[in-house]
């Protein structure tokens, strides 16, 4: 005979404001098999948990139903409390009276009745619960970091410095990400390359880090502690061991007019190229889309000039399989291009540029060697206009969020411009100045007060070209929306920061979720900012939302600590919520008839064939068997099984039917 305890929580007022908790507890006390029933203000508090523990001890409870919030919130809390009182934790169930009832209904009798029903079905279910034990799995102590921007670099170094192995993959020919493109960085104006390059080199030389550039994730299988990843190393058409990085090939390549990605299209690069002088690794790749040999079948000049015969035209992509225990995703972000803005000319004016293009113009390694010259004719602009919130904070453009970094980099840009062009005039159109951060507001004030940048609060409705000038039509909302027209030589749009192309596909490969803007979703916006909903996969940097460098680095170190915590254990425990094929006494052995439909249905390849043999070793029957290490408890096989021979532990057919019958008041 079951002895079940029911514990109804008020959740402060979250539940009790609409549900009559005392009545729910009282009704439950009358159910068959309920030995104890009580309501309490905060079940999750220490006294609340003690209430459960002492009831288990005193009444000898065989099952517990906690009627409170979502099991996602507190199931572990209550199961632990039960375990401490000597009850198998899987004999504890939660009825969700908060998310499923009090929060979504008005106060009233019907609401209390629904709460009662929710308790009822779990009381009946728990009667069929069985003691279960956690599954132990080993941990592979190697991390896979995807994306070699500053976030991926920092995460890799931190993990590697705890003594664990790291595999870092970067899709481009060099690591560095967007930070390598920046000229100077706010709020200190130190040179981006100068602070970044040492870390890039450290990554390349670290004994614990394996770096694969020009590589992408092909597929991922497995689960926390035990992932199997396939990495596609795209062919660089190069034998990296032979290449000395002399660069001769890049100077001799005849296909020179390819817009340089690194310079945001403001300069050109050859078909065999190193993206920038400080690249890591400093060895070229051949861009097969543009290379004359691959497109027209003739050329191979690089091969002829290479002093070490390192060019390999017939090299193929290589798939590398690795086993890792955790992943850090640090694939960063992108920005909208100027062609996203019809009101600013659909990208047809060469002197309307993006913030990243301005970074390249201001950078000593850029196409103008750091002189601010406009793309159309190379003249130094005498008047320059910066537009904040280009696309951001604009629901009509589908980007209602604030891109966060642009207010700061615009102040930086205007400052750099004033430092370089003393006679120049600069204007910033802004909505609000968002400069929250250490030394950030001071930085913006410096731009306004010391460097004389004209800040105008208002939006720009239109930009058009006339007589070689860009006419910028805006309004000054601090002067009663006074129309303003500026004849500018160059305009910089602080275009919205957005998720990468292909972010969804990557998220799907990783089985992690993403938000409506395709940024990867953290597990909890406040308390789990670097975790994803998939155990063992962590986030760092701007792939989660637009972030500046200090934030990206902090996140990366946070994610690295999470990985290190995981790797500090030799074994992990997993919930025993997995599928099992039933076993019966001979001669049936199991109701499984060995059709093995489930084998093809299982997305995790967790089902094997088991042969049952008699003493003489003769085969009696083949039945399905679930490998508990691989099973994820998704239940697909249960739905496929024609003879209902498979059950998910803790969610058996019997338990489900019981719940339904309880709901229909069949008891």
């Amino acid at each position: 005979m079951s002895k079940i305890g029911v514990f109804v929580c008020h959740c402060g007022e979250n539940i009790s404001a609409t549900v009559d908790c005392a009545k729910v507890a009282e009704t439950a006390s009358k159910y068959d098999g309920v030995a104890f029933s009580v309501d309490y203000k905060y079940m999750c508090s220490d006294p609340g948990q003690s209430l459960i523990k002492s009831a288990i001890a005193e009444k000898g409870l065989t099952g517990v139903v906690v009627a409170a919030c979502s099991p996602r919130m507190h199931e572990p809390t209550f199961r632990k409390a039960c375990a401490e009182a000597g009850l198998n934790p899987y004999m504890c169930e939660m009825a969700n009276l908060r998310e499923h009832c009090s929060w979504v209904h008005e106060k009233g009798e019907a609401t209390t009745e629904k709460a009662t029903d929710l308790v009822r079905i779990l009381v009946e279910k728990v009667k069929y619960n069985q003691s279960l034990n956690e599954i132990r799995v080993p941990v592979t102590k190697t991390a896979l970091v995807i994306g070699g921007g500053i976030a991926g670099i920092q995460a890799s170094l931190d993990i590697a410095n705890t003594g664990h192995k790291v595999i870092l993959i970067e899709k481009d020919p060099s690591i560095g990400g967007h930070m390598s493109q920046l000229s100077e960085t706010f709020p200190t104006l130190d040179c981006s390359q100068c602070i970044l390059t040492p870390r890039m080199v450290e990554v390349a030389q670290h004994p614990n880090i394996t770096l694969y550039t020009y590589a992408e994730l092909e597929s991922l299988e497995g689960f926390i502690g035990n992932f199997k990843a396939k990495i596609r190393r795209k062919s660089k058409s190069l034998d990296e061991k032979l290449c000395t990085g002399c660069g001769l090939c890049t100077t001799k390549c005849p296909t020179k007019k390819i817009p340089s990605e690194f310079n945001e299209g403001l300069g050109n690069r050859p078909a065999i190229y190193v993206p920038f002088p400080q690249a890591v690794p400093n060895k070229p790749v051949i861009d097969r889309i543009h290379c004359t040999y691959y497109t027209k079948g003739k050329c191979r000049i690089c091969e002829k000039v290479c002093p070490t015969q390192a060019i390999r035209f017939d090299q193929e992509d290589q798939i590398v399989e690795v086993e890792v225990g955790a992943l850090v995703i640090a694939t960063g972000f992108n920005i909208k291009q100027t062609d996203f803005f019809p009101e600013y000319g659909y990208g047809k004016y060469p002197d309307v540029i993006t913030g990243l293009q301005f970074e390249r113009l201001a950078s000593a390694s850029g196409p103008t060697l750091g002189e601010i010259r406009r793309p159309s004719d190379g003249k130094i602009p005498e008047k320059i206009v910066f537009l904040a919130c280009a696309g951001s904070r604009d629901p009509a453009k589908g980007i209602p969020y604030c891109s966060k970094i642009c207010c700061m980099y615009i102040a930086k840009h205007a400052m750099l411009y004033q430092h370089k062009v003393h006679s120049g005039k600069s204007y910033v159109f802004y909505m609000d100045i968002r400069a929250g951060g250490k030394m950030y507001e001071e930085f913006v004030r410096r731009a306004i007060e010391d460097d004389g940048v004209n800040y105008i609060r208002g939006r720009v409705s239109k930009i058009y070209e006339k007589n070689g000038k860009l006419i910028v039509n805006g309004a000054d909302t601090l002067l009663g929306a006074m129309p303003i027209e500026i004849e500018a030589d160059m305009v910089v749009l602080a275009t919205a920061g957005i998720a990468n192309d292909g972010a969804e596909e990557l998220a799907q490969k990783l089985h992690i979720s993403y938000d409506p803007y395709r940024f990867f979703a953290e597990a909890h916006p406040k308390l789990k900012p670097v975790e994803t909903n998939t155990a063992g996969i962590f986030l760092a940097g701007a792939c989660q939302a637009p972030r500046d460098i200090p934030e990206s680095v902090s996140m990366a170190s946070g994610a690295a600590v999470k990985v290190a915590c995981l790797f500090s254990q030799d074994e992990l425990t997993r919930e025993p919520i997995i599928a099992v094929v039933n076993r019966q006494a001979p001669p049936a052995y199991s109701s499984c008839v060995g059709c093995f439909l489930c084998v093809s249905a299982c997305p995790y390849q967790a089902i094997e064939k088991e042969e049952i043999r008699n003493r003489n070793g003769e085969l009696i029957k083949s039945i399905a068997k679930v490998n508990p290490g691989l099973c994820q408890g998704c239940g697909t096989c249960v739905a496929f099984c024609r003879t209902k021979s498979i059950d998910i532990q803790g969610y058996t057919h019997e338990q489900m039917y019981t719940e339904v019958l309880a709901l229909l008041n069949e008891y």
């Binding site: 019809p342 009101e343 659909y346 239109k462 006339k466 006419i471």
Partner: protein, 280 residues
């Protein structure tokens, strides 16, 4: 199929030549056109500034009459009327309560079944596909296609062309042999109803439009809205005062320009009715 025709007030008065040219072009291609009987004013700017229900009931009455007359599709050459009728159809389709109120006020059935074409859509549907070989006098001029405010806005409702840099008139004019110019004032406001109350404002706003067209070498401005036309044409004195020079670039309705290319008689297109002499 017969195409319904809602002229609206302007096309019966100050912009009679717009109506004349629409009908002349339609006739040249045997498009059967039937005016909506007993139509009323769409409410223009006044109604929707005063009373929402009234501003919807007036256009709804027109659509009800069209339904009653068995019309499936109507052309509304005036950009402002087109905007009001389309907005009404949209508002009533998403608010059954409002629809019921309006039906009761009008005492006429309304199902929302009539599709509404602006002049460009009408030409693209019935005229340009059959244009081949019919352009006898190519309109060989540099033209500034001026869309104004209402032909493309509000974009969420009209879903016509690109709101910031529309192209449909330019594409159409290309087919008449014209060379549309790239210019900056395609969708700037001409001053609209201030024509009467503050003519000097119209002089300034329309002046900038004419100035940009002139600076970029346009020989004619092409419009699809009676209000725009009257401001750019009839208010040319105010414009010239603002500009401090005499600019005599003519302003043509798109149907007039098309009509000329088709070789239709200038009088039938009403070209003599303009204030700025049509020299092209």
């Amino acid at each position: 199929m017969t195409l319904g025709f809602y002229p609206g007030c302007s096309l019966k008065g100050s912009s009679r030549e717009y109506a004349e040219s629409v009908l002349a072009v339609a006739k040249a291609f045997d498009v059967e056109i039937e005016e909506i009987t007993d139509w009323n004013c769409c409410g223009a700017t006044a109604a929707h500034n005063l009373n929402k229900e009234l501003s919807l009931a007036l256009p709804a009455r027109i659509l009800s009459l069209a339904e009653k007359q068995g019309l499936k599709e109507i052309v509304v050459p005036c950009a402002a009327c087109y905007s009001r009728l389309t907005v009404t159809k949209h508002e009533l389709s998403k608010d059954p309560l409002l629809k019921a109120t309006v039906i009761e006020a009008n005492g006429l059935d309304y199902s929302g079944s009539v599709s509404i074409l602006n002049i460009i859509q009408m030409l693209d549907k019935y005229i340009t596909p059959n244009l081949g070989g019919r352009v006898v006098k190519p309109f060989d001029h540099k033209v500034a296609c001026y869309y104004g405010c209402l032909l493309v806005r509000p974009h969420e409702i009209l879903k016509f062309d690109r709101e910031e840099d529309p192209q449909s008139m330019d594409i159409l004019m290309l087919k008449t042999g014209a060379t549309p110019i790239d210019w900056a004032y395609k969708t700037e406001c001409c001053g609209a109803g201030l024509s009467v109350s503050r003519t000097s404002s119209v002089g300034r706003l329309s002046g900038k439009i004419i100035e940009d067209a002139k600076d970029r070498g346009a020989e004619a401005v092409i419009v699809a809205c009676p209000m725009c036309h009257s401001n750019l044409d009839m208010r040319r004195d105010a414009i010239n005062t603002f500009l401090g020079e005499k600019v005599d670039i003519p302003v043509l309705y798109i149907t007039q320009a098309l009509g000329l290319a088709l070789g239709i008689d200038r009088k039938k297109l009403g070209l003599q009715r303009h204030f700025v002499k049509v020299t092209v």
